[in-house]
Amino acid sequence: MTMFTVAALALLVSLGLVLVRVIKGPTIFDRVIAGNSVGTLSVLLLAVIGYVFGRPEFIDLAITYALLNVIGTIAVLKFFRYGDLGASEDEAGS
Amino acid sequence: MGQVISLTIVLLVFWLTLSGHYTTFLITAGVISAVAIALLAYRMDISDREGHPIHLGLASITYWPWLVWQIILSALNVTRIIINPNLPISPTLTRVTMTQKTDVARVTYANSITLTPGTISVDVEGDEILVHAITSDNASDLEAGDMDRRCTRFEGKV
């Protein structure tokens, strides 16, 4: 077992644990927190898988995921707060 | 103008890092894209001192290693709390005062608080940051103001 396999297995275990919180999570915020962690863990998993199979091109996919992860989280939060992705802070009158 | 040149260089390096193929056509396309984006950003007034703060470059050399060290220390602390079967947490909500003047330094301070495991900046009200800490010790450490002083010094070295 190489070191990459060990890291990939640890990441898979963490993904499984975090997914339990996504399913259980009593409020939507617990789900968003866990979903954000799923995003971060999949970035790492993609980078490690590139080494497991000896194909470093996977790192480009990881960069794309890292770019999209934060946008996804903030979009979900904004939609949940205002019910509309285009609303600005003042017109929604939070 | 310094910002435009520096932004062009940063974008070009980003292009070359992602591309990995160095033919004449691709490098020319990269140069054209980098210059065009830098000029567009200049016209949109987003490559100013706030959007691309090159004047903080020197100060970050001393600030970031210290921040990384703090992150490691507090991450180990939170790890010990999670592993402990009793889960010895004492969540605390507190307010800390910012002494920074510029927005960039304030963002740096608030982001440093959030990036350090154990403390999260929840909201900003005027000169104060509302902070949620996982133990009362974490809150007291932050109230002692070491990180605040370092951020102010970080801002000062223009």
């Binding site: 963490s14 915020f29 980078a47 | 990036l115 900046s121």
Partner: protein, 108 residues
């Protein structure tokens, strides 16, 4: 490969995997959403930092290392923004954290 570098990257990858599992266990064990954010930030800092550093040691001074560096910087700049956005919208939605001590003087 040099034996010292080999052991360094083994240690970094194993440590990073360990901290990811710890963060995930923390997200499961913590009692409310605010404290879960603290556990999630372990994954975002030490987990990401150590695994990416381990992969960087493995590939040496190549273009791959530069790309891994981009991922590292990206995650370190964006993860506090996401955490803060979550915390702030919880406060605006009036989610009350479970507190053992409140030093704000709001009595909330």
């Amino acid at each position: 490969m040099d034996a010292a570098l080999y052991f360094l990257s083994w240690a970094l990858l194993a440590g990073g995997g360990f901290f990811c599992v710890v963060g995930a266990v923390g997200i499961l064990r913590m009692p409310d959403a605010f404290t879960r954010l603290h556990a999630a930030s372990i994954i975002d800092t030490l987990g990401v930092g150590m695994i990416i550093a381990g992969l960087m040691v493995q590939s040496g001074l190549t273009l791959t290392t530069a790309r891994l560096g981009i991922i590292l910087v990206l995650v370190f700049f964006t993860s506090p923004v996401a955490s803060h956005a979550i915390a702030r919208s919880m406060r605006h939605r009036n989610v009350k954290p479970v507190l053992s001590e409140d030093r704000t003087g709001e009595g909330s």
